[in-house]
Symmetry: C2
Subunit: 503 residues, 2 copies
């Protein structure tokens, strides 16, 4: 007997790893529907899909995280049996660089590609911050023309409208790293003849302006000057700029005027005497003109030097899509929804592999934030799409019920037969409720004999149960209806249509 005694079983926990989650039903459908709308636009713009492997070698991935909001972001990495290190991709840009370097002789040039899928970050999870999330990117590799940047801005505006963000509820803001370089030159921390000089100061300036959102203008100004003590008492060294020098840098971030032309004029004043700065302003002017030629006004795509996120990473134009409508934050205060997509020009990713500089520009859409915005606006998540449930009154007649669902499905109607234990009919209706079924079909022995079935409008039934008080009212507004068995498809279809009309 002792032989058969089993050790105490240690059961595994039914949980995903920390920072990971699952997506169910409507959440998956909504995201897929949105990704399809986005990629329809990308496709129309001539971009081709690319699905690279989720796993890359660590050496190919490198360390090029553009997202300064996640400075501690790491990767999930492990060693293969033959000792090689591999890792899950942390974005879709690093794999693009590897793919372009690998296949550059076969790919068209310029190469327009889009990609969508999960990326992984090995960092501390927090509320609403997961270690696996979706990105949806479009990039043009191999074109140095500012028309490529302009095209992506136009595509971004079209994409937002395609997924359901109305005109007026968003703006694509455009800035340019070269203008900032010009400003640094004017401020005396960039010498084109000796690019290494003041590199440390410029690093501090870049990190400072990238923190504008969090620290505000005063905080940035402290960092441009002597330095700044934060709330925890930690001291961050400043760039040591004089007030006059700092004025120039701050002036850049505050150069926004009433329209693109006026903003460019102001920027031109700020970079006077700097070639790189002048070039940057000219690029912004060209983008402004190209947008106007295609009918995009400043209400949709605007020149805005206050966009500083990613300026330290990108090398030319930088763009960011912001949603301008207000939402209530956790503390009940009104605030703008904010950024849902961003990108810009970067010219050095492919160089890591080939030694050749390949110009590239691209955008990444924060899929989950955009979904959250659409939910906020009530644009998704409203309609029930549950299946018609054919109930089982007589478990020996499963063939009859399966034949009914087959008829409904062949007519394109989502339907299923109840597959749990049919003994308790109440459980079957509870199941239908949980599935958000529009209609339940009921056929007992009596109905079978008479060649009829009962169909029940479940949404109406629930409403009536809540509102109606007398038996007379029940009869006047019946949620249940007896129909001929041969009319099943037509009558169910009509009941669904009526229910959807009332929803």
């Amino acid at each position: 007997m002792a032989k058969n005694r089993k050790p105490k079983i240690q059961r595994p926990k039914a949980l995903p790893p920390k920072g990971f989650r699952d997506y169910f039903g409507g959440e998956v459908d909504e995201r897929n529907a949105m990704l399809r709308k986005i990629t329809d636009v990308y496709h129309r713009y001539g971009f081709d899909p690319l699905e690279s492997s989720a796993v890359e070698t660590v050496e190919a991935l490198g360390k090029y995280l553009p997202d300064v909001d996640r400075p501690n972001a790491g990767v999930f990495a492990w060693q293969d049996e033959d000792e090689a290190w591999m890792a899950l991709r942390y974005d879709l840009t690093a794999p693009l660089a590897r793919v372009y370097a690998q296949f550059r002789n076969d790919l068209p040039s310029p190469y327009r590609r889009y990609a969508m899928g999960p990326v992984w970050r090995n960092e501390k999870p927090g509320p609403g911050r997961y270690r696996q999330f979706y990105q949806c990117d479009a990039d043009t590799v191999g074109s140095g023309s500012v028309a490529a940047d302009a095209e992506i801005c136009a595509m971004l505006a079209d994409t937002l409208e395609a997924v359901g963000i109305e005109r007026g509820d968003y703006v694509v803001k455009v800035n340019n790293r070269k203008v900032l370089n010009g400003v640094m030159q004017v401020a005396g921390v960039l010498n084109p003849d000796d690019p290494e000089m003041f590199a440390a100061e410029r690093g501090i300036v870049l990190r400072a302006i990238d923190k504008l959102d969090r620290l505000g203008p005063d905080g940035v100004r402290s960092l441009l000057g002597k330095g700044r003590k934060d709330d925890s008492g930690d001291y961050t060294d400043g760039a040591g700029l004089s007030d006059g020098q700092a004025d120039v840098v701050m002036g850049f971030m505050e150069a926004k005027r009433c329209d693109g032309a006026a903003t460019c004029s102001r920027l031109m004043e700020l970079v006077q005497g700097s070639d790189i700065g002048t070039q940057g302003v000219n690029e912004l002017e060209t983008i402004s003109e190209l947008m106007a030629a295609q009918g995009y006004g400043a209400d949709r795509i605007d020149i805005d030097p206050s966009v500083v996120r990613g300026l330290g990473y990108y090398t030319g134009p930088v763009y960011e899509a912001e949603l301008t409508f207000e939402i209530l934050d956790e503390k009940g205060r009104k605030r703008q929804f904010g950024s849902v997509a961003g990108g810009g020009r970067y010219d050095d990713l492919v160089k890591r592999f080939t030694g050749q500089e390949v110009p590239a520009t691209g955008v990444s859409i924060g899929v989950d934030r955009l979904l959250a915005a659409l939910r906020e606006k009530g644009r998704i998540g409203s309609k029930s799409k549950g299946p018609v449930v054919v109930t089982v009154m007589d478990r020996d007649r499963m063939g009859d019920y399966q034949a009914m669902v087959a008829e409904l499905r062949n007519a394109g109607i989502r339907a299923e037969v109840y597959l749990g234990n049919p003994k308790n009919f109440g459980n079957q209706l509870k199941y239908a409720d949980k599935r958000e079924s529009p209609v339940a079909v009921i056929e007992g022995g009596d109905e079978k004999e008479r060649g009829v079935v009962q169909i029940k409008d479940l949404a109406l039934g629930a409403r009536l149960a809540a509102e109606i008080e007398t038996a007379e009212e029940w009869k006047a507004q019946p949620a249940q209806k007896e129909i001929a068995r041969g009319d099943l498809v037509a009558q169910v279809r009509a009941m669904i249509a009526r229910a959807e009309g009332q929803a």
Copy 2:
């Protein structure tokens, strides 16, 4: 100067890790289109999407690989910073078990769910065998009814037709583990009163019949008896069955008759006296009847005891979809395309977590094999969907060209402006060729002045260049056409339609 001298740069290799690959353009589109068709059918059958995380804890994943073709399959695993082991999912069933155990109180019961996405296997890659590949699964958890199995068989047949496999080119074969258990009882290697007795022999029998495809009937018979020496000289111990016992087991695999009823009669003879065997045959009969009630004949869904793959893993009905048309293998020999999907009933996955047995049944479609089959049949991969390319004759008029593509895109036509260096016009046309563009648009200064543009049918142009020999013929069949600038959208649309009609 020494300060600026840089160390020799070790460049990363532009390659994915061994066993991983990338998918480009049409490959991605085709797979997505197929997945959409599959999930449309799953949706119509009442299945809900589930997207679980790609990463699971190692303890939650367990070791439940059903795929006996990949016996050495391992997982990619690593340790988190807090020492917890996590791994990439190796299939979509193990995560379903974890999700169901975690959310069982909130999910409807029965829970019908589908899932699609990549899975990862840490095994030696080989030709056509990758370490990341797609699966597309549908499972019903919480229903012990054989109607749930029948439903999945029907859905599998509908799915194959929905993606383009014609009726007659496939068959869904159904078998049952319980019948095998009955056969084992009759053969004297299973005693219902002492389930542990002969466990070792049954293990050998199960592994032997799972090798029927590779070893053939003679090889299996050796393993049922004394044992078998393979080509390398390695000896595998047999189950030690007598010839009479082995006859019973072999009879099971050869019990297929002309139709389901005849096969079930034969099976009933084989399991006579075994309760579990009788139950299994009854289940097969019920499935046969349910299929008939829904109009699925034996040409589409058939009872076939020669389906043995996975019998060792599943606990009740087992099903496999085979494509019956012939292809030529690597050696030029004709052979049937074979299996593209398989599944069955398993009742113990959730038990690992909760201690409760939860009945479940489900199917997994081998997405890449099904795609290969469709390519073999010429059902996908034929049509060019490249963009219209607007060429750049005058780089200062980029705004004009961008306005043209904007017009085309707004009319739903895939279009792009050439963004490379426009100096060499030949390169622009080569680019259009590489993109498989249907139409190129050309507007030089002269055309601009006269309010016209040239549009060029690129497919026709290529054909003419190959076929036509005299200048007169060129003029009679012009691939290029001058049109009014205002007619751009209408004329391009007409040219694409004509090209598609001729393709």
